[in-house]
């Protein structure tokens, strides 16, 4: 299949899936004869061409495991009025801090989060659960068997991250290099797990 044809099919599928996004796996099922490399090349070119061409109002963004067609940021003032899916209000500072702690420290219990923040995080956790940004990933061992939380693919999507690897390292990580590094290594595995379970 020619790259032109692949281009047109991916463009069409990106349009059809809209907000939901198109997963690489799905492209491969529709185009079983194309290699991942071919698909990557086509999408790479699509991205850079559309970005560079100011006549294009659309752009391709990364989502966990795939791609999504969105309007360019410069179109936001016009797009807002037309979007079928209204943007929800930004997360509160409490929710943001809580989800940051979960992303870097998962799996993590409410008590740990409360300790780090120095205040109760129950309501923030509830909001994050409802928004689907976090989920229960297990129970702590020992008495109480506290619920452990982790982030979901929705979290990655919400913050425009392709994977947890895209998250910047914690600023003071140098203070306790070993502990942080381990924790960081765990993310990726963990998140892979999380994606599977979703």
């Amino acid at each position: 299949m020619t790259p032109e044809k692949i281009h047109s099919i991916i463009e069409g599928l990106l349009y059809l899936t809209g907000e939901e996004g198109l997963l690489l796996d799905q492209i491969r099922k529709v185009l079983p004869e194309c290699s991942v490399q071919e698909i990557h090349n086509v999408i790479g070119r699509m991205k850079s061409e559309w970005n560079a061409d100011e006549r294009h109002g659309l752009m391709v963004t990364d989502i966990p495991g795939g791609y999504r067609l969105t309007t360019k940021p410069s179109l936001a003032p016009y797009a807002e009025k037309f979007a079928a899916i209204p943007k929800s209000s930004p997360l509160s500072q409490a929710s943001l801090e809580t989800v940051a702690i979960i992303a870097y420290k998962q799996p993590v219990s409410r008590i740990t989060i409360d300790e780090i923040r120095g205040v109760k995080s129950e309501r923030a956790l509830q909001t994050l659960m409802v928004k689907g940004l976090i989920k229960e990933v297990g129970r702590a061992e020992g008495a109480g068997r506290a619920i452990l939380y982790g982030v979901t693919p929705v979290f990655l999507d919400y913050f425009g991250l392709h994977s947890l690897d895209d998250m910047p390292p914690l600023a003071d990580a140098a203070k306790e290099p070993n502990r942080q590094l381990d924790a960081y290594d765990l993310f990726y595995d963990q998140y892979k797990e999380t994606i599977k379970n979703l």
Binding site: T71, A76, E80, P90, Q93, E97, I116, G132, A171, D172
Partner: protein, 262 residues
């Protein structure tokens, strides 16, 4: 110092401490306990409208700071006697612990800020609703293997999320739909039901639809009909069944449809 910043500007005592450290240009790695305690207490005193449950977190920190400060003023005992009921707590250790706590919290505050930037960027991107592809679908869903289906449990969770979402979306407005069940229409229905039956009916017979609005409107309709002598109610003794029958005014009552169009 001006105390114009409200308590809701801070996420908690740690956040407030970080704010003080920043504005007072204190070295976070060498926190002067005495100064920070005084400033913190000062701030707390000026926060007029502390919500009670929020306040407790701030007060616990205040107590911790005061304890630390006072221990620092005392000379360190020359011989540390571990056999005492309350083992000696080195204020320097507490100071280090507080520093660590603040450093860790600051890390995540910065991480949160960076996520905030991501969020703002993401909010500028818009996408359309996914197209309904069901016209391309031919699959009979009952052929989907059980393991790949949604479960009742998924459904319950969906409901739970929906209820929580609505709860978080703010105050609930009870919506009374005036078109659905005007009281006048319900009065007609009650009378019609009695006429059709040709005899008295039990009170419960009028409440077959277990919908809140329906129950309320039907009850109001009965009261209104009683007032107009169109029906009368009888109860032989306390808690006995209430019997409803047509009254003298049943033939010529006015529902006042406009008046009672709730």
């Amino acid at each position: 110092m001006e105390y114009k910043v409200k308590i809701d500007a801070f996420e908690g005592p740690l956040d407030l401490l970080l704010h003080l450290i920043k504005t007072l240009e204190i070295d976070i790695y060498d926190i002067p306990v005495s100064e920070i305690t005084d400033q913190y207490l000062d701030y707390i005193h000026h926060m007029q409208k502390l919500e009670l449950n929020v306040a407790s977190d701030y007060l616990v920190m205040a107590a911790t700071l005061i304890a630390m400060k006072s221990r620092m003023l005392l000379p360190k005992p020359e011989v540390i006697d571990d056999s005492q009921d309350e083992p000696y707590e080195d204020p320097e250790d507490s100071r280090q612990a507080l520093m660590q706590q603040l450093l860790e919290y600051r890390q995540f505050k910065e991480a949160a800020q960076s996520l905030r930037d991501n969020e703002s960027g993401r909010m500028l991107l818009f996408a359309k609703e996914p197209e309904d592809l069901s016209r391309y679908e031919r699959e009979d869903i009952t052929t989907i293997p059980k393991s790949e289906r949604a479960t009742i449990y998924d459904m319950m969770r969906a409901v739970q999320r929906m209820l929580l979402r609505k709860q978080l979306e703010g105050p609930q407005n009870t919506k009374i739909n005036r078109q659905i069940l005007p009281i006048g229409a319900q009065m007609n229905r009650v009378v019609g039901q009695l006429q059709e039956a040709g005899h008295a009916l039990r009170f419960d017979d009028f409440f077959s639809v277990r919908d809140r609005i329906h129950v309320i409107v039907t009850f109001l309709a009965l009261l209104e009909l009683m007032k107009k002598d169109a029906v009368f109610c009888r109860q032989d003794e306390n808690f006995a069944e209430i019997i409803v029958d047509l009254g003298k005014g049943a033939a010529a009552y006015d529902t006042g449809e406009d008046t009672f169009n709730y």
